[in-house]
């Protein structure tokens, strides 16, 4: 059984100029603990798809199964990371990480020790008592990753999480994310507009095209793990990149590779 099963999903928004189709006829199955990246230009519906999976918005039509059951309410089994860290400025790093556990009413002592573990895991040991304004953008995003993982969800939704960071920090965090994913397996759905990032992180890259937003191609990435930065310079990597670039920029058919 797939972790997330999507079939014939449509999403239409109403705007001042009439209805806008954000997603059209989207079908996708994501396996347990799979790392899937959604890549495409703005307006291709990748963030809409992510929000649908997080049940933050309702589909207009189609099927969306989470663990084999339809999603009717937001599920606590997902963690979300956004482009901005959106930390609470009045809370310390530790208290920011603990926010979801307070809302969900989880055990305080256990949550605290898990929070400390996660903070260690992302390399922020010693920063528990610091406030967000004292941290760099990369560090803030690490905190927001801990906050997404604190209640141990089985699915991690990431909406262009590293897009606001500089290129070097972005790379560093990408490898860190893969290291964390390796020790604590989750189903990850990662939205990006950066093709290299999409390939380097993913088991499968879902390439999407806009107007209307739909899946143009799904590319299996057969690179071995752990991934390294050197892989970016290999011929295989380049051929993946070319395939994705081709469908994104030229919109060739909905064929699957």
């Amino acid at each position: 059984m797939s972790k997330i099963h999507i079939e014939g999903l449509h999403k239409t928004y109403t705007s001042n100029h009439g209805p806008v189709t954000a997603l059209k006829e989207v079908s996708l199955s994501i396996k347990q603990n799979e790392f899937v990246t959604l890549v495409g230009p703005s307006g291709c519906g990748k963030s809409t798809l992510l929000k649908l999976i997080g049940s933050l918005i309702r589909p207009s039509r189609g099927t969306l199964l989470f663990d084999g059951a339809p999603l009717l309410h937001p599920t606590r089994d997902v963690g979300i990371v956004f482009q901005e860290a959106v930390l609470l400025e009045w809370r310390t790093v530790l208290d920011n990480v603990l926010l979801p556990t307070e809302i969900l009413g989880l055990d305080k002592v256990k949550s605290r020790s898990r929070a400390m573990e996660l903070i260690n895991l992302v390399g922020l040991a010693g920063f528990e008592r610091r406030f967000p304004r004292e941290l760099s953008g990369g560090m803030q995003q690490r905190v927001s990753l801990c906050r997404a993982l604190i209640h141990n969800p089985s699915v991690l939704l990431m909406d262009e999480p590293f897009a606001a960071l500089d290129a070097m920090t972005r790379e560093e965090l990408g490898f860190e994310l893969m290291r964390i994913w390796d020790t604590d397996k989750k189903t990850v759905i990662f939205v990006t507009h950066n093709i290299s990032e999409a390939i380097l992180l993913a088991d499968r890259v879902v390439a999407m095209t806009p107007r209307p937003g739909r899946i143009a191609r799904i590319v299996d990435i057969a690179l071995s793990r752990p991934r390294t930065i050197e892989m970016e310079f290999t011929q295989t990597f380049k051929s993946y990149s070319d395939q994705i670039r081709e469908v994104i920029y030229h919109g060739t058919g909905a064929s699957r590779s």
Binding site: K51, G54, S55, L56, H73, P74, T75, R76, V78, I80, F82, Q83, E84, V86, L88, E89, W90, L99, P100, E102, I103, L104, V122, G123, L124, A125, G126, F127, F131, R133, E134, L135, S136, G138, M139, R142, H151, D159, E172
Partner: protein, 270 residues
């Protein structure tokens, strides 16, 4: 770990000293300018022998303030009381009302236009009516202060409560947080810096409101003292009262700033 190395780069030792250093410079600069202007005033008044009933010299103002100190203190207390009571009343009513407005579109559509109309009315024009309705005691003054403070606080609070970033609301929703949790943990703390912006604006209006109330009809307060002393050509005393009003306003403003530093240490400073 790289993160720890970053931290050292993030906080060079001297960075912590810089803000207080520049604050000191600003205070020093402002004080020196004030002293220079006061000296200039003194010199010009003496040079051109301006009559004291028209424009008293700073030394003469200080002399009369010392002479009338017990009256000045007494009237200051009255004005201070009216100001603080009106301000407190305004906070106690505006903040909960702003919460109601933010949570109820119906209230937003019905109350906001009324508030705007109320705010558009000149308070100087309302003050005589208040005297007519509730007499010449301290109560009408407190009501005028309340009226001038009301609007900035409610607008700032409502703005602040609506200022939660959209992704944060999504996050909270994904955790199925209750409205109460969202309010206590997210909305209200987010609104706090905005509320203090409103409070700072309101407190500077508050003293003006009290004086307006006193001008219309009263037997005490610094506004009353200014009216009486100018009518008796005791201009230095009127200036003395004016000096105290200014000091009161400034002290109250920085009082709010101090409370803000304690309650909202994360607020941006300027």
């Amino acid at each position: 770990m790289t993160a720890e190395r970053n931290a050292a780069e993030l906080y060079p030792e001297d960075e912590a000293l810089e803000p207080s250093d520049s604050t000191l410079k600003a205070v020093l600069g402002a004080t020196l300018t004030l002293v220079a202007l006061t000296i200039l005033w003194e010199v010009l008044v003496r040079q051109f022998q301006v009559p004291a009933w028209l424009l008293p010299s700073p030394t003469l103002i200080v002399e009369s303030m010392v002479e009338w100190r017990s009256e000045l203190v007494g009237h200051s207390m009255v004005t201070l009381y009216e100001t603080l009571m009106g301000f407190a009343l305004s906070v106690a009513i505006s903040v909960p009302l702003a919460v109601a407005v933010v949570y109820s579109p119906l209230l937003q559509n019905t109350i906001y236009p009324i508030l705007l109309a109320l705010q558009s009315m000149p308070k100087v024009a309302i003050a005589p009516l208040l005297a007519l309705w509730i007499g010449f005691g301290t109560l009408p003054k407190i009501v005028v202060v309340f009226l001038v403070c009301f609007f900035p606080i409610i607008v700032a609070t409502a703005t602040g409560l609506a200022a939660v970033p959209a992704p944060l609301m999504d996050l909270i929703r994904s955790l199925s947080a209750s409205s109460l949790q969202t309010f206590v943990k997210i909305r209200f703390p987010t609104a706090m810096p905005h509320i203090f912006v409103g409070l700072k604006i309101a407190i500077t209006f508050a003293v003006i409101g009290a004086v307006i109330g006193e001008f219309v009809g009263s037997e005490s307060g610094l506004g009353y003292l200014i009216l009486v002393s100018t009518s008796q050509s005791r201009t230095p005393l009127a200036f003395g009262a004016l000096v105290l009003l200014t000091i009161m306003s400034i002290v109250l403003y920085y009082g709010i700033v101090l409370v803000e530093r304690v309650m909202v240490p994360w607020a941006p400073r300027n």
